[in-house]
Every structure is written in structure tokens, then in C-alpha cells.
């Protein structure tokens, strides 16, 4: 009997420890990013790091300004948002409101499949199909541009946007809809005037989570945006994002060098960005529930 009580006590403590594991890991990630990343600010001011206009990590002396990378990330993200938000929200409305039950199931499975395709496979497909198309359509010297990246990233954001927005639309109380119908509104008027406003905070959360996914995406972006660390003048030139810079250069950076520390500092920037996006999205999701 005592042995059983001891066993139970032990298991419950173990469960508590594992319950706290996610907090522990988030703290651990932040700790190790800052431990390595903050070292770069011994020789470089944070302002010069964020607003510096040139990224030449291996020249002598190294120039470590990430402004071109931030612009690269912003441009690709903005492009992906412009493409994926209208299409994603429209698709969510179609699935939640219009599609017949059987087609709805098939569509949802299709969206799940899209979410499951590894980013390196999407990058590969982008390289062999999209990049040549962009090159010939816009008569460019290379198809590896911010536009190509935006299009592929839009497809990575859409599954998130569709599924979260569909959830939001689905959770609007049935009585709202019935009330609108009773007043003689058409289905479309009901969707447009009643359902969308009622689900708006959930849709905002969907968009934010989708954008969060885009900012953090690495492999596909590295494979098709051309990797030129200059401030882009248009969407039809090669760019380099924050994520791609880390992935492409960490392999060559010497452990403990300034370059190595700078790449971790970019990691801190990404970590803080994703933290803010996710917390805000979560606030919007909970606003809906209240």
C-alpha cells in the first residue's frame, strides 16, 4: 500500500515536471540565443546592427548590418500576405458556408495535405516551375526573385489562414445566421454583413498566424529568392531574408567568430518577432471566446 502511494506521488511529480517542460524549453531557447547572440554587441552597437545598410560578414573588417535582410523578409512577407489573405479567407468562407458536406471533407483534407508538404519540396517545385515562369513572363535576367518567394510562401501561409479562419466562422452562433435569414437577407448578405464581422477577431488571428509562419519559413525561401543581401528596389529582384541568411551562412561561420555571434543575433530578432506575432494572435483568439 505504501509502495503504491509512493509510486503515485512519484508519477504525479513527474507529470508536473513535464507540464512545466514547455516553459523550460522556451526559456532555454531564449537563454542560448542571447548567450551567443549578445556577444556581437561587444564590438557593434545594436543600432548599427539593425540599421546598418550592408551585410558583408566575411570581408575585413566585417560589416554586419541587417537592414537589407529585414527589408528582404518584409518584402517577401508582404507579397505573400497580399496573395494569401484574400484567397485564404475566401476559401475559408467557401468551406465553412457554401461547400456541400462531402466536398467540404475533401477540401479540408486537401488543405491538410498542403500543410504537410515539406518546405524543401515546395522550394524544389518552385525552382523547377515557378522560377522559369517568372523569368520569362517578366523578361528578367533571373527568376529567383522576391516575387517567386512571395508566391511559394503564400501557399505555406494559406493552410494556417484557411483552417483558423474556418474555425472562427464555424463558431459564430447559429442564431445570428437564422436571425439574418428571418429578416430576409440572402446567404451572401448574411455572410458579408453578419458572419464576417462576428468572426473578425478570429480571422485577424488567422492572418497573423499565417504571417508568422511566413516570416519564419526558411528552406523554400532560401531556394527561390536568389539570396542577394541588398536593399531591394522592386519585387522583381533577388532578395535575402533573415531566415535564409542564418541557414545559408551558419555552415561556414566559425564557432565563436563575430559572424557566428551575428547570426545568433538575427536568431534573437526572429525569436522576438515570432513571439510578438503569436502572443497577439492568441489575444485575438481569446477575445473571440469571451
Amino acid at each position: 500500500m505504501n509502495l503504491r502511494k509512493f509510486k503515485e506521488f512519484f508519477i504525479q511529480k513527474l507529470i508536473l515536471i513535464c507540464g512545466l517542460a514547455s516553459i523550460f524549453f522556451v526559456a532555454l531557447i531564449f537563454l542560448f540565443l542571447t548567450k551567443e547572440g549578445l556577444a556581437v554587441f561587444k564590438s557593434l552597437s545594436p543600432i548599427n546592427f539593425i540599421l546598418g545598410k550592408s551585410w558583408y560578414p566575411i570581408s575585413e573588417p566585417a560589416q554586419l548590418g541587417i537592414l537589407p535582410l529585414i527589408f528582404g523578409s518584409l518584402m517577401v512577407t508582404l507579397g505573400a500576405a497580399i496573395i494569401s489573405i484574400p484567397i485564404g479567407v475566401a476559401c475559408a468562407i467557401y468551406i465553412a458556408e457554401i461547400a456541400p458536406l462531402r466536398i467540404k471533407e475533401i477540401l479540408k483534407a486537401g488543405i491538410e495535405l498542403l500543410a504537410a508538404i515539406p518546405s524543401v519540396v515546395l522550394g524544389f517545385i518552385g525552382m523547377v516551375t515557378l522560377v522559369p515562369w517568372v523569368k520569362s513572363t517578366f523578361h528578367l535576367p533571373t527568376g529567383l526573385t522576391a516575387l517567386s518567394g512571395s508566391i511559394i510562401l503564400a501557399f505555406m501561409a494559406m493552410p494556417t489562414i484557411v483552417s483558423v479562419a474556418e474555425d472562427a466562422l464555424y463558431s459564430v452562433p447559429k442564431s445570428y445566421k437564422e436571425g439574418a435569414f428571418a429578416l430576409g437577407a440572402t446567404h451572401w448578405q448574411t455572410i458579408y454583413r453578419v458572419l464576417l464581422p462576428a468572426a473578425s477577431s478570429g480571422i485577424v488571428a488567422a492572418v497573423m498566424l499565417g504571417i508568422g509562419r511566413v516570416i519564419g519559413e526558411t528552406m523554400a525561401v532560401m531556394m527561390i529568392t536568389g539570396n542577394a543581401a541588398v536593399i531591394p528596389q522592386s519585387i522583381l529582384v533577388p532578395v535575402r531574408t533573415l531566415t535564409a541568411t542564418i541557414a545559408a551562412e551558419m555552415g561556414e561561420a566559425v564557432v565563436g567568430s563575430e559572424h557566428y555571434f551575428a547570426l545568433f543575433a538575427i536568431g534573437i530578432v526572429l525569436f522576438i518577432m515570432s513571439f510578438m506575432v503569436n502572443v497577439t494572435a492568441d489575444l485575438f483568439l481569446h477575445k473571440r471566446n469571451r
Partner: protein
């Protein structure tokens, strides 16, 4: 009146069009990869080591490497994730600590994959001196899929009706006995679904393994968990961007094997979930 009907028709048409714009490319991507990749697939491709600077031969070490990594990740993430889910669903009260845990899980699932790579490099490879190894890679991937496993397992545990627990308590069972013999068995399909989704995610990710385990070219099988390994997603990246003049067939073949592996896992998860929902009696 006619006008509102017409605008509804137009609006619905555009909504349908948007849906096609998402679903058709998905179908197209899969069709292209299957069509161009299938001719490359034969026994030699699946069972041989890469030859001639990865331009011919097979991808066997990459397949094995990915399997090692995926099972290493799940070996680490499943026990922790499941116990964390039990904590959240059975023990946690609605207080500040619980809110912070939920926030941490949301953050963990939002951290960019390449940042996981940096973290794995700093902690496992450099600080703990595991080096670039299967161990470092598995641990990194394991932490990455932890939120998936916690969230899906928790949903599965919470969907077990409260009355099941009450009956068990009324028969004199303790809290842990109730969880062990009543709640867990009824939640197994949901937990399995989450586990398989986690496996699929780990199999397809490249950025977290870039600096923690992946070998550019290693034409043999890894000898221990402290050995580097090739991995399918990284191999696809390498042969499509780093190595010139690789036969297109080899690239598509590699993409097909990776896609097949990942989609199969997802399909199995979807089927388990579907059957479970159909059979559910409550």
C-alpha cells in the same frame, strides 16, 4: 431583388475560384512529382548509396538517416509531451501558471524552424559537446514537435467524458489509477494521431537539422547516435541547389520518396482520426 441574387452568384463564384486556386496547385504539385519522380524509383535507387558525387546511385543512407532522426525525436518527445498533456488536462487549474504554460506552448510552436537549428547548435552541438550527431538532431527535432504532441494529446484526453472519471473515482480508484486505466485507453487513437503528425513534421523539416546533424555527403550508414547522418530533406536541398548537373530524374525521385513518406504518415493519421470519430460512442 434580382440584383441581390446576382451579386450573391458573383460572390459565390469568386469564393469558389479562390478555393480552386488553393486546391488545384496542391493536386498539380503532387501529380508533377509523382509523374516525373516515378521513373527514377527502382530497387537500386532505394537501396544503394549515392555515387558519382550524388549524381547517380541511390538514396539509402538518406532514408535511413531520416528514419533514425524521426524515431529519435519521437522517443524523446512522446513521453514528455504525453505527460505534459496529462498535466494540462487532468491536473492544471485555471490559474496564472496554466496560462503561462499555454503561452509557452504557443510560442514553442511558433518559433521559426531555423531558430531551432541555432538553438540545437548552441546547446547540443557546442555546449553539451554532442557534436553534429544524430543525438543532437533528434533532440532538436524532438523539442520542435513537442507542441504538436502536447496539443493533440491534450485534446484527446479532454474529449474523454467527465462521467468516465467520476464513475472510476466512485469505485474508489485513485487519480492516477483513473488516468492510467480509464482516461488513457480511451484517448489512445487521438494520441496516436498526434504522434504520427509529429513524425511527419520531423521527417520533412530541414532547417533544424542543417547544423545539428546533416551530412552533405556520407556514403555509408551511421554507426552510432554520435555519428553524422544524411537526411532526405537536406539531401533534396543539396542535390537541387548545391550540386550542378544532377539528373532531373534523381531530384524528382528524391522529392517523391520524401513526399510519399510525409504524406503517408499524414494519411494514416487522418484515417485513424476518422475511424475513431465514427466509432466513438459518446
Amino acid at each position: 431583388m434580382r440584383n441581390t441574387q446576382r451579386s450573391q452568384k458573383i460572390a459565390f463564384f469568386f469564393l469558389f475560384l479562390a478555393t480552386l486556386l488553393i486546391v488545384l496547385p496542391v493536386g498539380l504539385i503532387i501529380v508533377i512529382i509523382v509523374q516525373k519522380g516515378l521513373p527514377a524509383i527502382n530497387w537500386q535507387f532505394l537501396s544503394d548509396i549515392p555515387r558519382q558525387g550524388m549524381r547517380s546511385g541511390g538514396i539509402f543512407p538518406a532514408i535511413v538517416g531520416t528514419l533514425y532522426l524521426v524515431f529519435g525525436a519521437i522517443f524523446f518527445a512522446l513521453p514528455i509531451g504525453l505527460l505534459a498533456a496529462i498535466y494540462l488536462s487532468e491536473y492544471a487549474k485555471d490559474n496564472l501558471l496554466n496560462r503561462i504554460i499555454k503561452l509557452a506552448i504557443i510560442n514553442l510552436s511558433g518559433v521559426p524552424s531555423v531558430v531551432y537549428g541555432l538553438f540545437g547548435l548552441a546547446l547540443f552541438v557546442v555546449f553539451l559537446k554532442f557534436g553534429a550527431s544524430i543525438l543532437s538532431g533528434s533532440l532538436t527535432l524532438g523539442i520542435m514537435i513537442l507542441p504538436i504532441i502536447i496539443t493533440t494529446s491534450r485534446e484527446a484526453l479532454e474529449s474523454v467524458p467527465q462521467s468516465f472519471r467520476e464513475v472510476s473515482f466512485s469505485l474508489g480508484a485513485s487519480k492516477w489509477q483513473t488516468i492510467r486505466h480509464i482516461v488513457l485507453p480511451n484517448a489512445i487513437p487521438g494520441i496516436l494521431t498526434g504522434t504520427i503528425l509529429g513524425l511527419g513534421r520531423a521527417a520533412g523539416e530541414t532547417a533544424p537539422i542543417l547544423f545539428t546533424v546533416a551530412a552533405f555527403y556520407l556514403p555509408r550508414l551511421p554507426k552510432s547516435i554520435f555519428d553524422q547522418a544524411m537526411a532526405l530533406p537536406y539531401h533534396l536541398y543539396v542535390i537541387s541547389t548545391q550540386v550542378p548537373n544532377v539528373d532531373e530524374k534523381v531530384r524528382y525521385g528524391t522529392a517523391l520518396v520524401l513526399l510519399f513518406l510525409v504524406l503517408m504518415m499524414n494519411l494514416v493519421a487522418i484515417i485513424i482520426r476518422y475511424n475513431f470519430r465514427k466509432k466513438k460512442k459518446w
